[in-house]
């Protein structure tokens, strides 16, 4: 899939995560994470974000994430929103049914 614009989702509130997505020139995905729980959960959060990107077949995307202790469900939702916005598909009809995994 192709990104049509840079996008963001989420806030810097406690228990939330802010995601910014933009294209890069290297062709692979890069994830930069700052987190209050980096030592304990840094790798898990990165792999979660990367999983969402893969699901949408995104390549050459840079994600800047600032995490304030969000749970996995929140992180996934914020990344999904940012991806949808980056793809220009905010008002997609099947938006609510596409990405419910177990």
């Amino acid at each position: 899939m192709e990104i049509v614009k840079s996008s963001s989702a989420g806030t810097l509130d406690s228990c939330d995560i802010q995601i910014r997505i933009e294209t890069n020139e290297i062709g692979t995905n890069e994830i930069y994470l700052k987190s209050v729980v980096e030592m304990q959960f840094g790798d898990q959060i990165k792999s979660l974000i990367s999983g969402v990107l893969d699901k949408h077949n995104l390549k050459g995307v840079t994600v800047n994430a600032v995490d304030r202790g969000a749970l996995d469900c929140t992180i996934k939702a914020r990344v999904e929103s940012a991806v949808m916005r980056a793809l220009g598909r905010e008002i997609l009809e099947d938006w609510s049914v596409i990405h419910h995994d177990k």
């Binding site: 406690s14 030592m39 202790g69 969000a70």
Partner: protein, 488 residues
Amino acid sequence: MNRIHGKMIKPYKGPFDGVGKVTSSLREAIQRADLKDGMTISFHHHFREGDYIINTVMDQIAELGIKNLTIIPSSLGKVHEPLIGHIESGVVREIHTSGLRGKLAEFVSDGKLGTPLIIRSHGGRARAIEAGEVKIDVAFLAAPRSDKMGNASGNGKYTQCGSLGYAIVDAKYADTVILITDDLCDYPNIKPSITQDLVDSVVVLDSIGDPNGIASGATRFTKNPKELKIAEYAANTIMSLPLYKTGFSFQTGSGGSSLAVTRYLKENMKLNDIKASFALGGITQPMVELLEEGFVGCLYDVQSFDLTSTASIAKNENHIEISASQYANPSNKGCMASMLDFVILSALEIDTDFNVNVMTGSDGVIMGASGGHCDTAASAKVTIVVAPLYRGRLATVVEKVTSVITPGNTVDIFVTERGIAVNPRRKDLLEILEKTTLPLVTMDDLLEKVDRLVGKPVPIEFEERIVAKIEYRDGSIIDTIRQRKNTL
């Protein structure tokens, strides 16, 4: 040097020795106290984050070239970050405290203090001082008001801290007591917390503390639904137990949930015409309201947290100042804590054996205070710990706490927003609570729930080096904190 009962004595120099106690400067007072390399000095923490004294005194001591001191403040806050410089330059060698926070705490957690930090509870500190395990050579005690002889009290023209409970022990047991104030009043200052017979010098400074950092204004009630849920469960737990009847006694912490417990209790006390005999501890506005509305007979106050309580201790006869020893020293002839029915305490972490950590963050960095946690937990008939199941992404319920401040055999009930766990040791409480509609769970249930929600964290790694020793209230070492490994 001549000592009687461990205390330095001065030969008789006539009836008026000591009349000229007011010294022209802090420097002169320090010199007069004959402070030397390697001595032990103390401070109190009644000014909390508004304290100017520790930094001012340490700067002056550094200027005088005195080194290798042991400092034993009753606690330290973020505001004491400049101590880092004094450690690096060799002025401070050893620190004993209840709490440690901010940059200074990170500095110590990184192993940069030469000798391990000693962490004591409030009762344990009073015990160690009275037992002579630590000998204070010079106590630097700030007081919002004092007269020229050192009759000192907690409410002055510029600053108000109410109770001076932690300072009283130091005043009684230090060889030399330097009283520091910014409000020198006419003699005599009546109803002093510290009396003139204990004070060597009086120093007047322009400013001793920032009123905004010393006591918060109005205590805001939490609106956080999680905290309210926890408070409601905790209050309902108390109300279900037979100890809850007229004449009961209690202490609550100053966290959001703890404060809200008082509010729920009050509604029920009003409804059922139940009155408490006394409330203890760090005193806050909700307790003062209980006193003024007649729901509690008296307040015993070792530390006044907000302006409502600093004002109350000055005007309400039944709002009584007590020393840290009277509060929680396990080795005197009976501390007030030993008369508690209920205590409600908070936790950073609690494990499946009910051990509680209030000192070390889940990242291994020191960030809290021991306070009266283990003292009151051991003493009260029913000890209730309240905390959310997780904060941010960090679990409160864990398999093993990062460090133990309060041992699990002194904790009876743990209340979260997801249920109430009763320590299996307290079958009597469990039997009563099982007959109620309260949501009882086990610690294992809670651990499983929280693991599912936040996931399994990568375990924190530590170096071999011990950076802090945690003393239990009786002086035994209950745990140690190791230097954190920086894995990022």
